[in-house]
């Protein structure tokens, strides 16, 4: 094994990239992964903002070794601040800022109404930076799922445990469900949609998608085409965290294989991060793991995963350019 990979320097993207870290299962490692990749990207002289999208339980600041900032999303949700960019505060790391989630959970959970969340979803694109890394909390509700779909790079984080594996399939079902729902104009089709998806609790999505698309197509052909295209264009990434042994490392590619064939979406394996107790130890010392153990094998796994992700983004951009030129 070679360690200390250099980042892909051919990666040049002048557009802003929104990264989202989801998966549904609590404690899988989204906060660890998003903050670590944020630190690594910032070290490469990229302008990075971490957006803590976990409204109920903000903790990206802790993962970065900081206290809860004064300014948080609460200010935005309660209307104290209008400009979301004012909320990006410096972190101990150069080039890396943080938009922290609410300071007090009571006001955040009570005030983060649907309207406020929708406003946030719209404004994500206006945060000034090159890379916006969005940490998302657990759950399969509208907020974690729709926030996840805002990503240009959509990363699912799981652990090898059956509970996490099971949850990630639910999460993907929800992604597809929301894809349909968000684009569906006609309310009468929503019943078909929810009924069809409830049927599919433990199976793949091919059949259900085909059925629903057919139904939609009957009344609104262009909507069906639009939805099909938006699903076909999806490109999920999978990271397996807390692997313990060789078998754990095989589970990521295996899940991707199944999703690619039975869930109608493209999903690529982006890498694994081993279980490493120093992660917990460094958290207790109030320092991010990656800053404390920069040269460890686990740190190398983060770098390799980041490189893999950046490479796949470059490849995708090249392909899109090519498609654009040749179309």
């Amino acid at each position: 094994m070679r360690w200390g990979y250099a980042l892909d320097t051919s990666f040049q993207d002048h557009e802003k990239l929104v990264w989202t870290f989801g998966g549904g299962k609590g404690g899988a490692g989204r906060t660890l992964l998003s903050t670590t990749l944020g630190i690594l990207l910032a070290k490469e002289e990229r302008n990075v903002v971490i957006f803590d999208g976990n409204l109920e339980c903000a903790n990206a600041h802790t993962a970065l070794g900081m206290r809860q900032p004064q300014k948080t999303l609460s200010d935005f949700i309660t209307g104290k601040t209008q400009d979301i960019n004012e909320l990006a505060v410096p972190t101990p790391f150069r080039n890396l800022r943080l938009i922290s989630s609410s300071g007090d959970s009571i006001s955040a959970t009570n005030h983060s109404s649907l309207a406020a969340k929708n406003r946030l979803l719209k404004l994500i694109g206006s945060i000034n930076c090159a890379h916006l890394l969005t940490d998302i909390g657990p759950g399969l509700n509208f907020w974690p799922v729709d926030l996840f779909l805002k990503g240009d790079v959509q990363i699912l984080v799981i652990t090898p445990e059956p509970t996490a594996v099971e949850t990630v399939y639910h999460f993907i079902r929800m992604l597809i469900y929301r894809k349909f729902k968000n684009q569906l104009g006609a309310p009468q089709l929503e019943n078909t949609l929810s009924a069809a998806f409830t049927d599919m609790r433990t199976s793949g999505l091919n059949d259900v998608m085909e059925r629903v698309l057919e139904k939609i197509s009957a009344t609104d052909k262009s909507a069906a085409v639009r939805i099909a295209k938006s699903i076909a264009d999806m490109e999920l990434k999978l990271v397996v965290n807390q692997t313990l042994d060789r078998h754990d490392k095989h589970i990521g590619p295996a899940i991707c294989e199944i999703v690619n064939k039975f869930y109608g979406v493209k999903m690529d394996y982006a890498g694994f991060i081993p279980f490493d107790e120093r992660v917990a130890l460094s958290l207790r010392r109030g320092r991010p793991f990656i800053a404390e153990y920069e040269t460890s094998e686990t740190a190398a796994c983060f770098s390799v995963t980041l490189r893999e992700l950046l490479n796949s983004i470059s490849a995708r951009n090249r392909k899109r350019q090519l498609d654009f030129i040749t179309s």
Partner: protein, 210 residues
């Protein structure tokens, strides 16, 4: 436009490019049968059992068809190699059939609830046909065992070989192998429990090129 397993051609089922070599076909087959096996951890919560079985069948079909196509080509080019190919692994014909008995018993019990035991039997033969290759790997053996529906615990019970050693054999993990003097005996016992030719298997397993 949306990806769908129902529309995949034979190569796509195995994630292969159209001119994949037999070794690649075989590797893909072994890899995928593991992913879609009944106790695969990745399948859990993902697919209905019906979908899983359907896919196992597709993989099997794709593998058999592509291998026989590739085999035909191989034969015209290199007759000597071509001969050593398909189901002649039952070229253990000369051996006493008695050695098959224990495994068949285990396998039968396993399949008790499975109505499609005929299909299962076909899968077994197919899995065994991989043994015609010069070398046998742990992955080959594991695949045959799974195809026969036999668990490691059962083999361990039947052979009195510790499960961890059987696992080491299947995962080609020399660090966990027993002392070399026992190795051959254990592999033979394993092969015998699966109804395979013990001499042939231990030879091909131990003396393959690294």
């Amino acid at each position: 436009m949306i990806r769908n397993a129902h529309q995949l051609d034979l190569h796509e089922v195995l994630n292969l490019h159209p001119d994949a070599a037999p070794e690649e076909i075989e590797r893909a087959y072994l890899h995928l049968t593991t992913i879609y096996s009944e106790n695969s951890r990745a399948v859990y919560g993902a697919l209905s059992d019906e979908e899983r079985r359907w896919m196992v069948k597709r993989i099997q079909e794709a593998y058999e068809t592509l291998m026989s196509r590739a085999g035909a080509v191989g034969e015209t080019r290199q007759p000597a190699q071509g001969k050593a190919h398909p189901s002649t692994s039952a070229g253990e014909q000369g051996k006493p059939g008695g050695s098959r008995a224990p495994a068949q018993d285990i396998a039968k019990q396993q399949r008790g609830s499975d109505d499609s035991s005929k299909q299962g039997a076909e899968r077994e033969t197919k899995a065994e046909s991989q043994l015609s290759a010069k070398a046998v790997t742990g992955a080959h053996l594991r695949n045959i065992r799974i195809a026969k529906g036999v668990s490691l615990d059962e083999i361990s019970a039947a052979t009195k070989v510790k499960k961890s050693y059987l696992e080491a054999i299947e995962s080609d993990n020399p660090k966990r192998f027993p002392a070399p003097v026992f190795m051959k005996g254990f592999i033979k016992a394993y092969a015998k429990a699966l109804g395979l030719n013990p001499e042939e298997i231990s030879e091909k397993y131990l003396h393959r090129e690294q």
